[in-house]
């Protein structure tokens, strides 16, 4: 066990902290689910990129700093502690980019990574379909070969695509072999949301803002250069980085520690009611424990270990914690909690935590079967 940061890490942390203190907007940006908020968040990404803070773990050639995993976690902690804006580019930089680094061609990397790093191009995921939510392998959207034009023609419907209403590119899996079933015969495609045949229909979310969208694809042509990895290998391509440690599977603890701190503040401001004391302390304990758990995972990775299925443990941990913290906040606010405000918005958002990026039910199956070795259930 070594609880100290190295001198280099301390220097990195101090630099990040100083820059954030000087640059984080004093007022929160408008919600990134609104058109003006989306633009404001894009601009913030540009500000970050100009100082090389938007993608610290990427190579320097692509606006990064080649930061180590430990540095990345440090940066994330500082970022949330500073109260910096949410990352509008998160689907691109956390979900897509690991796949792009591993399976993309040099041409694709050069074309897509720089505008992703600067916030100029925002990427939307096109994973879920109406009948394929938890069961992603049930997807039906299809890709037909067009040898004549040298590419593929996409048809189908995708849903739960965050901020696709405003984003520029989509990425997702399509069934390229019509006779295939489940995980086989899928191909990973990237496509501009402005392409001919693409229709994006916003879905108003809990708070009424169009945070999600459905994407309808009607004979959308995608050239071969926009296929990621080998055709037919889409599932393997997507899964190879599904547990990528810098992506969602290692959700950085900074966000939850910051929420816990705000909750403690709120509790004091409300007169420190004894009856809610334990729940407030629990929130703090949970966030600290999550932080240590993350550091434990990082240490294992640094030692050459694999993240394996512990991303599922992580997911269950942080999403349940986030809901509990927001519920406590609303109870503290009592009648005020009925009025719209940051805690109410945060609460509605927290409820999506156990659902998206693999529901907690699916994650618990993964933990039970892959980590504990319990028998699989018949799943058709």
């Amino acid at each position: 066990m070594n609880l100290d940061l190295s001198p280099d890490e301390i220097a990195f942390r101090d630099e990040a902290r100083a820059w954030l203190a000087a640059n984080v907007p004093a007022e929160p940006l408008p919600s990134m689910d609104t058109p003006e908020g989306f633009r404001a968040h894009q601009e913030w990404e540009t500000t970050l990129a100009d100082a090389r803070w938007s993608v610290v773990s990427w190579p320097e050639a692509y606006h990064g700093r080649g930061a180590s995993l430990v540095e990345w976690v440090i940066f994330e902690e500082e970022y949330y502690r500073a109260g910096a804006p949410g990352r509008v580019s998160q689907n691109g930089i956390f979900l897509l980019s690991p796949t792009l680094f591993e399976h993309g061609t040099k041409e694709q990397q050069d074309r897509w990574l720089p505008p992703m790093a600067t916030g100029e191009q925002v990427w939307a995921q096109a994973w879920s379909e109406p009948e394929a939510g938890s069961d992603l392998a049930a997807l039906r959207s299809r890709a037909e070969r067009d040898d004549h034009r040298g590419g593929w023609v996409l048809n189908g419907q995708k849903t739960w695509s965050s901020r696709a209403s405003y984003a520029h590119w989509g990425f997702g899996l399509f069934r390229s072999d019509p006779d295939s079933e489940r995980h086989r015969g899928l191909t990973y495609f990237c496509f501009p949301l402005a392409a001919e045949g693409v229709t994006v229909r916003p879905i108003a979310q809990l708070d009424g803002e169009p945070g999600f969208a459905e994407i309808f694809l009607d004979d959308v042509f995608v050239p071969d250069v926009d296929v990621l990895g080998e055709p037919g290998q889409g599932w393997a391509v997507a899964m190879s980085t599904a547990g990528n440690e810098r992506g969602l599977s290692l959700r950085s603890p900074g966000r939850f520690c910051a929420t816990a701190d705000r909750l403690v503040e709120l509790w004091r401001r409300q007169g420190a009611p004894a009856e809610l004391r334990d729940r407030v302390v629990d929130a703090w304990l949970g966030a600290e424990a999550y932080r240590l758990y993350t550091w434990g995972t990082v240490s294992r990775l640094v030692d050459g270990g694999q993240i394996g299925y512990s991303g599922s443990v992580n997911k269950v941990f942080w999403s349940d914690l986030d809901v509990a913290m927001h519920e406590t906040a609303l109870d503290l606010l009592a009648a005020e909690g009925e009025v719209r405000g940051p805690w109410v918005d945060g609460y509605l958002f927290s409820l999506s935590g156990p659902i998206y990026a693999g529901t907690n039910e699916v994650q618990r199956n993964v933990v039970a079967e892959r980590i504990l070795g319990l028998p699989r259930e018949a799943r058709g």
């Binding site: 809990l206 809901v323 719209r340 799943r379």
Partner: protein, 306 residues
């Protein structure tokens, strides 16, 4: 000792359910919520066809002379439908007059209330059916937050808790029905998700909470009816006790049921179009009205119930 509905009360529930099905489907609820007022057409239908506003008003004041139990029966259905109907405020105004109004005030005001007149009523820091509502998370109930807590007699407050618990039970019932239906339709991994045992057990827990809450709420409604019908210190004590039990139990139960409704629906519950969000917000508003769980627990101690 009989903690069950009469045949007539069953029928009343059926009539109200039918009326709400016709007049207050999801789009009507949403339209009213966006209008910034309650659903005026629906309220008129409820008053004219069922006489819901007149139910707790004695016959001598142009009322039906039923009891608050009948009001609670209707509120349970209103809660289940998430209907934007001002029955809670209406019944509380009547209660306040019956318990603490002068004969003159009753003569002046009860006939209008029996006919469906709606007026603001303050409960703690929240005003029901205010002139001007402040933006609240729930838009199917009109609420405003004010600075000072209104002064309200203990027995009126207990009646309020009893009636709110009827709305809470209705909301829970809706959450449970919605989730059971969804889990039977939704197919993932080649099976309806309602066949997965983990989900079944969570739905079973929801049912336990709904059933227990319903008994608690019925007990409180019975005690409210007894006391308002013929107030005595003994009846008031029983009312305060049973209303505190109902508020304490139903508040926790509804919070759990509403959250589970959202979680078990998955992504679809995260959308504006789906009624799960209406339920979640209604649950939140009702629980703030009853007081969050820890405050309902304070009340048990303050009232020296234990």
């Amino acid at each position: 000792m009989h903690l069950a509905r009469t045949e007539e009360q069953h029928e009343l529930a059926g009539v109200v359910m039918g009326l709400l099905d016709r007049h207050s489907d999801s789009s009507a609820v949403r339209a009213a919520a966006e209008s910034g007022t309650y659903d005026i057409r629906l309220w008129r239908a409820l008053c004219e066809q069922v006489g819901v506003a007149a139910l707790p008003v004695p016959e001598g004041y142009d009322g039906v002379g039923a009891s608050l139990v009948e009001t609670a029966v209707v509120l349970e259905e209103v809660g289940r439908n998430l209907a934007p109907a001002p029955l809670l405020a209406s019944a509380l105004a009547v209660t306040q007059l019956l318990l603490h109004g002068s004969e003159q005030e009753r003569r002046d005001q009860l006939p209008g209330l029996a006919a469906g007149e709606v007026r603001p009523v303050q409960l703690g820091r929240v005003v029901l059916e205010p002139e001007q509502s402040t933006g609240s998370m729930d838009q199917t109930m009109r609420l405003a937050l004010v600075d000072g807590a209104g002064d309200i007699p203990e027995d009126t407050r207990a009646v309020a808790l009893a009636l709110i618990s009827a709305l809470q039970v209705g909301a829970m019932q809706r959450g449970l029905e919605m989730t059971v239906a969804y889990s039977q339709e939704r197919v993932q991994f080649g099976r309806p998700i309602g066949s997965f045992q983990a989900l079944k057990h969570r739905l079973a827990e929801m049912l336990v909470l709904v059933e227990a809450s319903r008994s608690a709420s019925w007990g409180a409604a019975g005690a409210a009816a007894d006391h308002v019908g013929d107030p005595t210190p003994e009846r008031e004590a029983r009312l305060v006790r049973l209303a505190s039990v109902a508020a304490g139990y139903c508040t926790e139960a509804l919070a759990h049921v509403a959250t589970e409704t959202v979680q078990l629906h998955g992504g679809i519950a995260m959308t504006w179009e789906h009624d799960a969000q209406l339920l979640l917000k209604r649950a939140h508003a009702l629980n703030q009205l009853a007081g969050p769980a820890h405050l309902t627990r304070s009340r048990v101690l303050e009232a020296r119930l234990i």
